[in-house]
């Protein structure tokens, strides 16, 4: 009963929002209708455009491009992050020497690299993958580094007393611990891979969702921009749901976390 009430209230918020939007853009209460529609379009037009886009084949090609970029950025960024995270965590000198540079590189807003990457890698998918990589790498790197460094000393001592050699310690202790930390940031890193892809496309490309939105914007097609945003949102929610599914599967051994707001 409580959940039903909550759902009703949530839907009510959407209806009020859409109704307000509709009233503002289709009546002359807040000024000229033509002007309002130029800047804000109308909810019905946006919905109609979204449905039309989603029923055509073209959008799926763009989505496919964006998805490819996201996945590549995530996979390559994670692999590099894991590799460097382990290397730095197990080698005190390495981490001490590179510490200021890592911090500096992480402090740099990565978006400014987009033009450079476009120059280096062209306007194809790789400049977007490179941008996503720089975002994903640091998240995974810091988490793996932390995961390896913060292995419980008792678990480690116990594993040693059980006679494990370095290889076995890696397999049974360091690796699972690092993965735990990495998985706990899975949502963030996948999200950033997507941000890299879309922002990269937006700044210069010939395909992908970011490109679609940019294209609509350059001809003042506000309806197209909003429709692109709606499709992007649906896409992100779908990916996020997938990540949640993967996370549940991989972290079964962990006690239920209170961090998730959805009912378990």
């Amino acid at each position: 009963m409580k959940r039903l009430k909550l759902l009703c209230l949530q839907i009510l918020v959407m209806i009020v929002f859409l109704a307000l939007w509709h009233v503002v853009t289709t009546t002359s209460l807040f000024g000229d209708v033509k002007t309002s529609q130029f800047f804000f379009s109308t909810p019905l037009a946006v919905i109609a455009r979204t449905v039309k886009e989603l029923s055509g084949p073209a959008i799926y090609w763009h989505l496919g491009i964006t998805l490819t970029e996201t996945v590549l950025a995530f996979v390559i960024g994670s692999a590099a992050g894991i590799l460097f995270g382990f290397a730095f965590a197990r080698n005190a000198l390495l981490s001490a020497v590179f510490d200021p540079y890592i911090k500096a590189a992480n402090a740099l807003p990565r978006v400014v690299l987009a033009p450079i990457f476009a120059l280096w890698f062209g306007l194809g998918i790789w400049s977007k993958v490179a941008l996503g990589f720089t975002l994903v790498f640091f998240i995974v790197f810091f988490n793996v580094y932390q995961g390896v460094r913060e292995v419980s000393p008792t678990i480690l001592a116990n594993a040693r007393m059980l006679g494990m050699n370095e290889r076995q310690l890696f397999r049974h202790v360091y690796w699972p611990s690092a993965l735990t930390w990495m998985f706990s940031s899975l949502h963030t890193s996948v999200g950033f891979a997507l941000v890299g892809a879309v922002v990269g496309e937006y700044l210069g490309s010939s395909a992908g969702l970011g490109y679609k939105i940019h294209e609509a914007e350059s001809v003042f097609d506000v309806t197209g921009v909003f429709a692109g945003m709606v499709i992007l949102t649906i896409f992100v929610i779908a990916i996020d749901a997938l990540v949640t599914l993967v996370e549940r599967r991989l972290l079964v051994w962990r006690p239920a976390q209170s961090a998730t707001t959805t009912a378990t």
Partner: protein
């Protein structure tokens, strides 16, 4: 600080290694180098030997270096002076013939109870299927047949200790080291775990060093009770033989007259150290330093 007036550790070292002892500590000093550059001498001039098949408890006030001593026998800590002998041979690196039950949770949280026990056989090169079979048997022996697929966070504190016990014993170590293993458990669970331990130990008596702050537990379980002085530079102040008959039930044995007599004897020497530690502890708080 009277212990510092004792003869130098080297003198006792020659006598400290009787033939055939499972564990022989001779003139062992252990000093920690603190982060602020200072030093803390945890134990000093320890001579202690444990025979094969002997159950020895080590009691003493909090922070007296009981665990430190156990870590030296395990090879997790190298003594700054003195010798550690294992079955007559000097200990180099980790003690491969010992199993260690830690006070804190030491199970791998990402493995099920079965996998946690099974993984203990991997360094010994036991094939996968045989390892799984033996792990199941051991989990049954500690009464956890129904919980093999549970992850540690799904188990109670007592159940986790049982898994740890199975994990350690499945390797059939010749020396068993236990550091306040039942410390975090409630009173009833401690008794059950104590009886379980005695039951498992009595099947093929191994040398066992058991650190505890609970004197009653120590007497009920052990053949010998060793009393340590208050730290820093803690030493052994007394060594009592517990001549109670076995098999024992650790709940019933506490009611016997002989138990009370032994308890009175040991408590008389332990009490002095506990009071000393308490007095020092108050002083130490003012200085702000503490044991590592």
């Amino acid at each position: 600080m009277e212990l510092q007036d004792r003869p130098q550790a080297g003198a006792g070292a020659a006598a400290g290694s009787p033939d055939g002892a499972a564990v022989a500590l001779a003139g062992v000093d252990i000093t920690f180098h603190l982060a602020d550059g200072g030093r803390y001498q945890a134990v000093k001039g320890i001579d202690l030997s444990v025979s094969p098949g002997e159950f020895v408890s080590i009691v003493g006030p909090t922070g007296c270096g009981k665990s430190t001593l156990l870590n030296a026998a395990a090879g997790l800590l190298a003594p700054s002076a003195g010798r550690v002998g294992i079955f007559g041979k000097p200990l180099v690196g980790l003690n491969r013939r010992a199993g260690y039950l830690f006070q804190q949770d030491a199970l791998m949280p990402w493995k099920t109870a079965l996998d946690n026990v099974k993984v203990a056989l991997e360094p010994m090169g036991v094939p996968e299927r045989e390892a799984a079979q033996r792990a199941r048997e051991w989990l049954a022996r500690v009464g956890l047949s129904a919980f093999v697929d549970r992850y540690p966070h799904m188990l109670s504190g007592g159940q986790r200790k049982r898994v740890s016990l199975a994990q350690m014993l499945i390797r059939n170590p010749e020396i068993i080291l236990m550091d306040e293993p039942f410390g975090p458990l409630d009173a009833q669970t401690r008794q059950i775990m104590g009886n379980l331990l005695l039951d498992l130990w009595s099947r093929d008596r191994k040398a066992l060093m058991f650190v505890t702050h609970d004197l009653e537990e120590a007497i009920a379980l052990s053949d010998r009770v060793v009393v340590m002085s208050a730290g820093p530079a803690a030493g052994i102040v007394a060594d009592y033989r517990v001549a109670l008959p076995r098999p024992r039930d650790i709940a019933d044995i506490r009611l016997e007259k002989a138990f009370h007599e032994i308890h009175r004897d040991i408590w008389s020497s332990l009490r002095v150290e506990v009071q000393k530690a308490y007095a020092m502890g108050e002083g130490r708080e003012l200085v702000g330093g503490d044991a590592p």
